[in-house]
Symmetry: C2
Subunit: 155 residues, 2 copies
DNA sequence: ACCAGATAATATGAGAACCATACCATCTTC
DNA sequence: GAAGATGGTATGGTTCTCATATTATCTGGT
C-alpha cells in the first residue's frame, strides 16, 4: 500500500500531471508572445523548429511540424515577409530551398520571454547544482520521449 | 569562473533550453494526437482548459485561451458537435452558459498518449522517490510561473 | 547521353477558421 | 422600472489550410 513502489507510482502520476499542466501553460504563453509579434501559433512553432535545426527545407520542416507542404509555403511566406526567416537556394540541388532563421529579431522574442525567464531563474536559485543537473537531465529525457512518441504517431 | 554560482547559472540556462525544447516537442505531440481526433490545436487547448477548470463560461474560457469570444463560439461549436464538451445553462444567470467536458471520450485521448505515458513511466523508474518529488515540485512551480507570465503579458 | 519516373517547392482554388462588429437576452444599479 | 453593463452568439470580410495540379530539377536505367 504505502510501499516505495506505490509511492513512486503516485509520484510518476503527479509528474505527468504537472508536465501536462506546464505544457499547456507554456503553450498559452507562447500564444501571447506570438500575438505580440503578430505571429500565428503554427508560425511560431515553425520558427522555433528552424532555430533549433539550423537550416532545412520546407518539406522536411512540414514533416517535423506535421503540416501539409503547401501549408508550409504559406507559413514561410508570412515568416519571410516579416523578416523572421530567409529562403536560400540549396547550392547542391536547385529544386531545393534552405530556410534559415534571421538572427536579428531574436532579441524581440527574448524581451517578451524576459518575465518568464526571470521567474525560472528565481525558481532555480532554490535548488543545488546537483539538483539542477538532475532536473535538466529529466527535461532532456522528456523532450526526447516527446520526439519519439510524435514520430511513432506519424509513421 | 567555475564557482558554484557560475555552475548554477549555466545549469539554469540548460534547464530553460531543455524546457523550451520539451515544450515544443509536447506541442507537436499534441498536434499529432489532435489530428488523429480531428481536433484543431486551439480546440485541443480549450478542451484541456475545460478539463482542468471543471466548468466555466465561454467568455472566461476565451480569456484563459487568449482568444476572441466570437472565436470561442466556433471552438465550442466544433467541440460540442464532436461530443467533447456540453453546453449547459447556468441556473443562476440565464444569459450565461457553462461548458463541461464530456467524460466519455477521455479514454480515446489516453490511448493516443499511451506511448508517451509509457516512456515517461520508464524515465521515472530511474529516479528515487525523493528525486521524483523534487522534479514534481519543480514542474508545478514552472507551470505556475507560466501562468503568471501569461497573465502579466495579457493584462 | 537520353528518357522515364521520382522529388522539391509552389500556384490554384474550394472550404473552413478567425475575429471585429452588431445584436439580443438578461442582470445590476440607481 | 429605466439605463447601462454583461454574457453569448449571428454576420460578414479577411485570412488560413490543404488537396490537387504544375513547374523545375534530379536520378537511374539503358
Amino acid at each position: 500500500m504505502s510501499s516505495i513502489a506505490g509511492l513512486k507510482r503516485r509520484l510518476a502520476i503527479q509528474i505527468k500531471e504537472a508536465m501536462r499542466d506546464a505544457s499547456l501553460q507554456l503553450a498559452l504563453l507562447n500564444h501571447q508572445v506570438g500575438a505580440r509579434l503578430k505571429l500565428r501559433d503554427v508560425d511560431f512553432d515553425c520558427l522555433n523548429l528552424v532555430s533549433q535545426h539550423g537550416s532545412l527545407g520546407p518539406g522536411a520542416l512540414a514533416k517535423l511540424a506535421g503540416l501539409h507542404p503547401a501549408t508550409m509555403t504559406g507559413v514561410l511566406d508570412r515568416l519571410e515577409k516579416a523578416g523572421w526567416v530567409a529562403r536560400e537556394r540549396d547550392p547542391d540541388d536547385r529544386r531545393a530551398v534552405l530556410v534559415r532563421a534571421a538572427k536579428e529579431r531574436g532579441r524581440e522574442v527574448l524581451d517578451l520571454f524576459d518575465d518568464m525567464n526571470g521567474k525560472m531563474d528565481e525558481i532555480c536559485t532554490d535548488y543545488t547544482a546537483d539538483e539542477l543537473a538532475l532536473i535538466a537531465g529529466f527535461l532532456r529525457r522528456t523532450a526526447a520521449a516527446g520526439r519519439e512518441a510524435t514520430a511513432t504517431l506519424t509513421e
